[in-house]
Structure formats: C-alpha cells, structure tokens
Amino acid sequence: MTQRRKWTAIPGLLALAIGAAMLSAYSGASSSQHHSPVQPINFPHPVHVQKLGMNCLYCHNAANKSMDPGLPAVSTCIGCHNIIGPDRPASDLGPKRHSVELDKLYKFADVAGMGAGMGANAKPIPWVRIHKLPEYVHFPHTRHVNAGVTCQTCHGQIQKMDRVYQFASLNMGWCVSCHVNGYSAKEGLQAAGYAPPDSGANAAAAPATVATGERKKARYDCANCHY
C-alpha cells in the first residue's frame, strides 16, 4: 500500500497565493501609474513648453494660488490660436503643413476661421483626466508650488511628453516618503531642467531653501491631507 500524493501542493499553493497578494498590495499594483489615455485633442506639451517656452502657469494659472491647478479655458487656446491657424505656411519653423488637431480645436470652439472669435455653440473640450487623487485626499497645489516643488517632481518630464501619461504612482506611500524624507528645492529645479539660481534677482525670488539645497520636511500625519 504505497502511495505518493501531492499532499504538499495545497499548503504550498496557499503560501504562494498569500505571498502574491502581499506583493501586489505592496508594489501598489492597484495604482494607475503609466496610463496614458487618448485625449480629444492631442495637445503637444513639448511644442508649447520647450519650443515656445511658455510657462506652465500661463495655462494652469491657479497652480500657485489654489488647491487645483486650473485648466485653460477654451478661450485661452483661441486667444493665440485664432492667429495661429491650422494651416502653417512654410517658415523658419519648418515647411508648410496642416494641423488636424487645430481643426479639432476650431470645431470645439466653433471658430469660423482664423481671426474669428469663438462661436455661439462652442463646446468645452472633454479632456480625459489622468492624475486623479481620490476624493478624500486634499492636495493643495499652492502649498507645493510655493515650497519650490516643481511640476516635474510629480508629473515627470511633462514638457517632453507628446502624450501625457501618469508619471508617479500617486500611491500614499509615494506621497508620504517625500513628506518624511523631505524635499530639496534645488533638486526640484534640476528636475525641471534649470540650474539653481545662485545669485541675482531670481535667487531672491526663489524659496530660501533653493540655494542651500536643504531638504524641507513636511507634516505627514493623516489630517494633513485627509479631512
């Protein structure tokens, strides 16, 4: 009466399952990191930021004074784009070409043609949201921006993204580690691709911690963000 049974299999599998569950929980498998949805208009950050050198605050105008960064109104787009139409003549910027995206913009804004203002039945652009914190998390952009946290710290090299994707995991652990270990405005600037201002006016403008490169810690008890 000899028998070999895989009696070891059951506990073994159980152990594996538990391990997997813990691992996924720990690695934040539930986060929507890296997802990069198709937008109604494929807005090229590189062109606006890198090529034209626009400041983030030009469009996201509340980022430094409000909880939420603010989204450019359609009129803001049209402000420039009723001069810069879909059809680009050949110039030092490059050869002549036609921009489909701007057509879309014109359709949304109900713009007859270049120079014309917004029409009567203009519709807002239904941008797809990428960076979303749960409702019970309160993230004041103003606090971070004014502490010298640059956009790139959380949003990645957004000025280089042809299509925006979620750079950080936005997990609580990710937030907290920065609050606990502190943040150096200097590195922030470097992340944004600037040399830290050593002297002159812009040094004065920048937060004091920039020059020193000291790491500024923040409160990390729950009620700082959850209320």
């Binding site: 049974r5 009696w7 813990m22 929980a25 720990y26 690695s27 986060s31 997990n171 652990g173 907290v176």
Partner: protein
C-alpha cells in the same frame, strides 16, 4: 456488543482512576474500534439535523448580504448603543470555545481521567465555536470588506494597524487560538484517522483517509515524539485559553464606559467562558452518547465530574457578579453607581435577572449528586446556562452603552430581524460543521481510550489490591493460548 453500562458491584461510587475501572464495560481494543468507528455511518436523523443547520446558516448568510448592501443601519443599532447582538454573540461563542481547550489541554495536564471520552467532541466544539466567533467582529464592521486592515501586512500605503488597540489584540488572540486549537485537534486525530484508514474498504475514502493520516504507522518512534509534542501543545494551549478570553475582556475593561471599566473582567470572563463552555459540552455530549449508544464511554462518572466543574465555575461567576456591584457601591463613583442601579432595577432589569437566575441560581442544583448523575437534568440545565451566558454578555454590552456619562445621550436598544437572523445563522453555521464532523471522524479518541483500558494480556495480572476485583475476566480478554 455491550449496549448499556454494567453497574459496579456494591453500588458505591468508585472514583478511583484505575485503568481497570475507567471503562468497566469496554473490554478489548477491537470493541473500541468497532463501536466508535460504528458511529460513522450517516443516518436519516443526521441528514435531517444537518438540513436544518444549513437552512439556518443560509438565513443568516442572506441577512448578512442584505446588511452589507444596505448598511449597518439595517441592524438594530441605536446610538449610543454602538455594539449590539453581534458583539454579544461574538463573546458568547468565544466563551463556548474555551471549555473544549480546558478539557482537552488543562485536564490533560492534570491527568483528569474523565476527559478521555469527551475531549475529542469538545475540542471539535472549540474549533467550530471559534470559527463562528471569528465571523462576528468582521460582521459587525461598518465596512466589513476592509477587515484585513486590522492585520499588520506590508502595504504600499506604508500604514499599519494600531497595536495599542484592544481590537488588534483580539485579532492576534483569536487567530492564534484558532490556529493552535485546530492544530491540536488535528494532531490528536492522526492515530484515529490511521485506524479508520486501516478499517476502510472503499478505496476512495481510504485514499483520502491515508492522506489525512499523513502515513501514520503507530511505530514506537512516532508514538514517542507524538506524545511529547502533544504534551507541549497542551502546555501552550493552557495559558492560551486563559489569555484569549482575558483579551476579549480587555475590549471592555480597557474602555472608559461605566460597567466596562473594571479590573475584575479578565478572571470574570475566563470563568464565565469555561462555565458556558461546559454548558455547551453537556448540550452536545449528552444527546451524542445517547444517539451513538456510547453511554459506557461517557459514563455517569464523567458527567458527574464535569458537573462539579460546572458548579465550581458557576459559583466563581456568581461571585464576580456580586463583586461588580460591591465595587460600584464602594467606588463612590456616581457614574458607576447610576449604571449598576439601572442594570438591576432600571430599564434592563429583565435581562439582568435572566442572567442571574440561569447562571447562579439554577446551577446550585448541582450540589445534589442525584442531579449531577442525571443526564436529562444536566441537558436541560445546560440549555439554561447557554441562555444565561448569552444574556450575561448582553447585560455587559448593551446596558452599559445605553446609560453612559452623557444623560442627554441615554438611550435604549431594539434589535431588528437582521440581528436575529444572523444570530440564528451563527448556530446554523456551528452545528453544520459539528454535524459534518461527527459523521466523518471519530467523536472519541480511540487510541487514547485503548491507552486507558486494559491491554490484552496472556498472563492474568494480579488485581487483588484493587477493589474492582473480578472485573477483568481472562476469558473475555481473549488471552486463550
């Protein structure tokens, strides 16, 4: 085969733990195997009972599903009474569990002979009771789907439970208790499963049984380590059983609430737990010995001994009740005094008196030996004890909360059908497991019974020093060559 207990000569009560008289009516190893293994075949009545149990469980499950969907408001909570039937029932079942461990572990250490026949059943009872109890803390959560947040596991939020909270102590205590007691049960079962395996004809069942028996061979080496390990497990389980209910009592004792905030709680709860457990053992064992015709295994001596234990714990509990009042009285603490007055003469008098009568007054009957040795009475009494102990927890939980510091927030409590269904369901769940158990696995430790009865001998041993002379008849030991 022997069907009824053969009375001893002289009719006096021999309580001498001599192997010879432990089970006077059990003669041979074969008899043990035959009789106990014989109880395993499913019967019609068994199917009926199982059906009822499953039905009750389903009712409970439905109610729970509804409650999860609707929110806890579906239950009868009525602030300030934020804990109700669920916590009451939780403590009740944990308490039930304790007697099992007491009998199988503590009495094992004390070498109390009468444990042999009932410990398997009560150990099983422990495991299933704790399985039932374990459901309730989850069940009473506002967001039950988040219960695992109470367990310290590494997570990407980098946050952990609060080890200062009695509820986290509970998690540790209950989980440990469940693990250890089920291991203890299983270890004890291994040799018996081996017996079943060897008696089994049906190949499939045989295969399964030989899996469960882990290839146990009864070799001397196995027995040697087995007995040692069993001893140590018992040694662990003994303080564990004391700690678990102390921890449960901390849920209350650590709070500020008048009627909860008392240092007497741990011993008081442990005594209560064992008391209620013995009650449940009676409720289970007495019908069992009748149905399975095992009266000569669970003898009147055993019941008698258990009844004494019951009487003892009952009086401990009674003393605890009195002490509570005395402490409140002498504390000079207005809140305590108001509360305890309200408990016995106020809105909750009815519950308090049910508790006192069932737990303190009725068990006094056990001073009479006649009643101690009367299974019918023990069974009825045990039902009262179960009721009384449920109400003890009710009296501790609900009235305290309904009559706290803030008079403006004094209230009352009325459960709804959801509470009742889930309470019913818990009994269904418990008995479902228990019924399944008794027909799949032996309700008595065959190997251990063999250990205490006379081994087959070729030569007649001299029992002249033993007052039970003549009990052992060489012709019946089958030692005939």
């Amino acid at each position: 085969m022997a069907t009824t207990a053969t009375p001893l000569p002289g009719g006096q009560r021999p309580n001498i733990p001599s192997a010879a008289v432990r089970f006077p009516a059990i003669k041979t190893y074969d008899q043990v195997d035959r009789e106990i293994a014989g109880t395993l075949g499913p019967s019609l009545g068994w199917f009926g009972a199982l059906g009822i149990a499953i039905l009750c469980m389903l009712i409970g499950a439905t109610a729970w599903t509804y409650q999860i969907h609707e929110g806890l408001g579906a239950a009868g909570y009525q602030p300030p009474v934020m804990w109700g039937v669920y916590i009451v029932t939780f403590v009740f079942w944990v308490g039930i569990g304790h007697a099992g461990t007491l009998i199988s572990a503590i009495l094992y250490l004390f070498r109390a002979g009468f444990r042999t026949s009932i410990y398997r059943a009560s150990e099983a009872m422990t495991v299933f009771a704790v399985m039932t109890a374990g459901l309730f803390p989850i069940l009473h959560l506002g967001r039950p789907w988040k219960f695992f947040w109470l367990i310290p596991y590494p997570n990407w939020r980098l946050i952990w439970p609060n080890p200062k909270s009695p509820l986290v102590w509970d998690v540790f205590a209950i989980l440990t208790y469940l693990t250890i007691s089920s291991t203890f049960l299983y270890i004890g079962l291994i040799p018996d499963i081996a017996i079943l395996r060897d008696r089994e004809k049906n190949p499939i069942r045989k295969a399964i049984l030989s899996q469960l028996s882990l290839g146990w061979r009864n070799s001397d080496r196995e027995w040697r380590h087995f007995t040692r390990a069993y001893l140590f497990l018992a040694a662990f389980a003994t303080p564990l059983v004391l700690s678990v209910h102390s921890v449960v009592s901390f849920d209350f004792a650590m709070a500020l609430t008048p009627g909860w905030h008392a240092t007497i709680f741990p011993p008081y709860f442990v005594a209560g737990a064992i008391f209620s457990g013995i009650g449940m053992v009676f409720t289970i064992a007495i019908p069992l010995r009748k149905a399975f015709k095992l009266e000569h295994y669970i003898t009147l001596n055993d019941l008698d001994a258990a009844a004494k234990l019951c009487l003892f714990t009952s009086s401990v509990v009674g003393l605890a009740y009195l002490t509570e009042f005395q402490v409140a009285w002498m504390s000079g603490n207005r809140f305590e005094q108001d509360y305890f007055w309200n408990r016995v003469f106020g809105q909750w008098a009815w519950a308090a008196w049910i508790m006192l009568i069932c737990n303190v007054v009725l068990p006094l009957s056990l001073w009479s030996q006649k009643l101690r040795r009367n299974p019918a009475w023990l069974f009825i009494l045990s039902l009262f004890i179960n009721l009384g102990m449920w109400f003890e927890r009710f009296v501790i939980v609900v009235p305290s909360l309904s009559h706290e510091f803030e008079p403006w927030q004094w209230g009352t409590y009325r459960p709804t059908w959801v509470d009742y269904s889930i309470l019913l369901g818990s009994f269904g769940w418990f008995f479902m497991w228990f019924l399944l158990f008794i027909k799949q696995l032996p309700v008595m430790a065959m190997a251990e019974i063999k250990e205490v009865i006379l081994p087959p001998m070729r030569r007649r041993r001299d029992f002249s020093h033993d007052l039970t002379q003549g009990v052992v008849d060489p012709d019946e030991t089958g030692a005939t060559h």
